[in-house]
Each structure stands twice: as structure tokens, then as C-alpha cells.
């Protein structure tokens, strides 16, 4: 018994040690998504808990103006926000990079035709709350406030016409159909969020 406790303690210590400077744990898929309030670039108050109330889902996207990976998805984010907006799914963009000021984020949004609300995340508090590490990184919250999907938009940043795994689209289609999200956590390379 003593040996097994020691082994467990060693395993926990090893895991903690390995963590190094990895990000803290964010909300797990299936758990309640932490509420947050921010102000949109056009000065409106945004609250996640209020937004999910009237929608099938809210898609929270951590994005950037200068990251090539995030920029590779500008058109896809714009088009999906419009298409799914008609079906009751709200897209919002959050820029947590300290190096990208609000006026730059607004200009970038105009340039790429974003129609979804965009917010700066002062002191990267929301990025910390969600343990968002890079851009683009997506969190989908359902009408009950539960996190249902976390990860990438799809697996092919280089060529939207050759996407083999449209993971965000699949997740949203599942939510619209009232089905479980089959692939609820995905990963892709991206640019680290430049934190304060």
C-alpha cells in the first residue's frame, strides 16, 4: 500500500514537473464554459452567458492580425460566420495579443469583411480563463453554456478546397442536428498568443 502511494505521488510529481511552462488547464469539453464580459470594438457590451441564451451555440475564436495561420483562415471565418449566423449560431472574435492594438484589429476586420463582433482582451484575461494558447483557436459553447468543441477550424491551412477534416463545420452541424460532436477536440499549429 505504501509503495503504491509512493508510486502515485511520484507520478503526480512527474506530471507536474513535465508541465514546465505549459499553459494552465482550460475548461474541458463537456464542462461549463467560463463566463466572460468584454467590450466589442464598436463599444457594445458582450457577455458570453447572455449571448448563449438566444442562440444554438456561440463560436469563440481567438484570432490575430499578423499570424499567418490565423490569416489563412480569414475567408473561412468570414464565410462560416455568415452561413451559420443564419442558422442561429453566433461567431465572435477575440484578439488577446498585446502587440495588436484595437485600431489595427478593426482595420484588419474591415479589410477581410468580418461581420462578426470583435473584441480586444485586455491583459489576456479571457485567453487565460480558457487557457487559449495560440491563434486561431476555437471554442464552441452550446445554449446551455457547455463547451462542446475545442480546437481548429480544419486541418488544411494552405488550401481550403482540399480540406479533408472540416472539424468546426462538423461540430456545428452536429449541434444543429442535436447530435453529439464526434470529434470534439482537435489540434493544429498556430501562433502563440502574445501575453502581457
Amino acid at each position: 500500500m505504501r509503495h503504491s502511494r509512493l508510486a502515485l505521488a511520484f507520478a503526480v510529481a512527474s506530471a507536474l514537473c513535465l508541465a514546465g511552462t505549459a499553459l494552465a488547464e482550460g475548461p474541458a469539453v463537456g464542462a461549463k464554459a467560463p463566463d466572460f464580459q468584454l467590450t466589442t470594438l464598436d463599444g457594445k457590451a458582450f457577455s458570453l452567458s447572455e449571448a448563449v441564451g438566444g442562440k444554438t451555440a456561440v463560436v469563440v475564436m481567438f484570432i490575430a492580425t499578423k499570424c499567418p495561420y490565423s490569416n489563412a483562415y480569414n475567408d473561412r471565418m468570414r464565410d462560416m460566420a455568415i452561413a451559420y449566423g443564419k442558422q442561429g449560431i453566433q461567431f465572435v472574435g477575440i484578439n488577446s495579443n498585446k502587440s495588436e492594438p484595437a485600431d489595427e484589429v478593426a482595420a484588419h476586420a474591415r479589410q477581410h469583411g468580418f461581420t462578426f463582433p470583435l473584441m480586444k482582451d485586455p491583459d489576456n484575461k479571457v485567453a487565460d480563463l480558457y487557457a487559449a494558447g495560440h491563434t486561431p483557436e476555437i471554442f464552441v459553447v452550446d445554449r446551455g453554456g457547455v463547451l462542446r468543441y475545442h480546437g481548429r477550424i480544419d486541418e488544411n491551412y494552405e488550401n481550403p478546397s482540399r480540406v479533408a477534416s472540416p472539424d468546426l463545420k462538423n461540430a456545428l452541424d452536429s449541434l444543429l442536428a442535436g447530435k453529439p460532436v464526434a470529434k470534439a477536440e482537435t489540434k493544429a499549429f498556430g501562433c502563440s498568443i502574445k501575453r502581457v
Partner: protein
Amino acid sequence: MLDQAGLTILDFRLKIAVAAFAGAATVAGQTSRLAGELDAKGFASRVAAEKGRVVLVNFWATWCAPCREEFPDLVRLQRAYAGKGLSVLGISTDFAGQLAAVEKFLEENRPPFPNYHKLGAGDDQDFINAVERSWGGELPFSVLFDRQGKKVRVLSGKQSYADLEREVTRLLS
């Protein structure tokens, strides 16, 4: 028959195959060319080949500003600690079409450690998970292995030289 693009790729692969031999023999020397391409299996084998030394694997990309900022500190770290048992390995995750930019970056920085390109084929998610389950895909990202080849530390995002030095010296001592 190979077209021009095919010849270019073949030429590149031949060059890096040659460079891989050179890189393995001259870890302490300056390496301005890619040493080869690695998939997840190749990554594990490459780290295993350094057993007996502390290994710091850094994942970077030319388009990643914090990666470019951190890179000179990796060069400095390897110069300072190679003789004490440190092996830095760089792995570029640049897009397949940007290999010229990768080699230009290496030419400018002349790192005293080998750099590889992540093999373009397959889903990046599989590679990321094979390297480290807790890694979300953010760059830069570093993984530290002790002299026994055991993964002991992961470093997410750009690190200061002082932080890198502290992590490495702890394992070297």
C-alpha cells in the same frame, strides 16, 4: 518522368540526405542547411540518438515572430553548453512551400545545432500528439529530455535566455 517541380523536390531531398550525414557528424559546428525531414517516428529516433546528453528540441517557424526572437538565444545556449553535454535540435514547422525561407533563416543565424523540417505529409495533429499530448500546437514550443532520454519538461511559447539556461543547467548538473 519528373517535371521541374518534381526535380526541385528531389534535388532538395538529396541535399538534405547528404546534410543529415554532415549534421550528425558536426553537431558542434555551424549548420546553415536543413539536416533532413522528420516525422513523429524520426523525431523519436533522433532524440534517442542523443542519449547520454541533455536534449532541448525547439519547434519553430520562420513566420513565427517569437520563434525568430528566441532562436538567437538557442544559438547562444548551445555554444555555451555543448561542451557540458547539451544538444539542441531545431525542428521547423514551416509550410512545405517555404523551405527556401527556412534555409535563408538558417544561413543568417548559422546555428551550431542541426535543424530539421517537419515532414509535410499527414495531419499535423498526429505529429503534435506524438511529440507531446499537452501541446496545443502553439509555437515556439520546446521539449527537454534528460541524459537518459526521458522527457522531463515542456516549455510553451518564447522563453528568455535566463529561463532556458536555468532549465538546461538543472539537467546538466
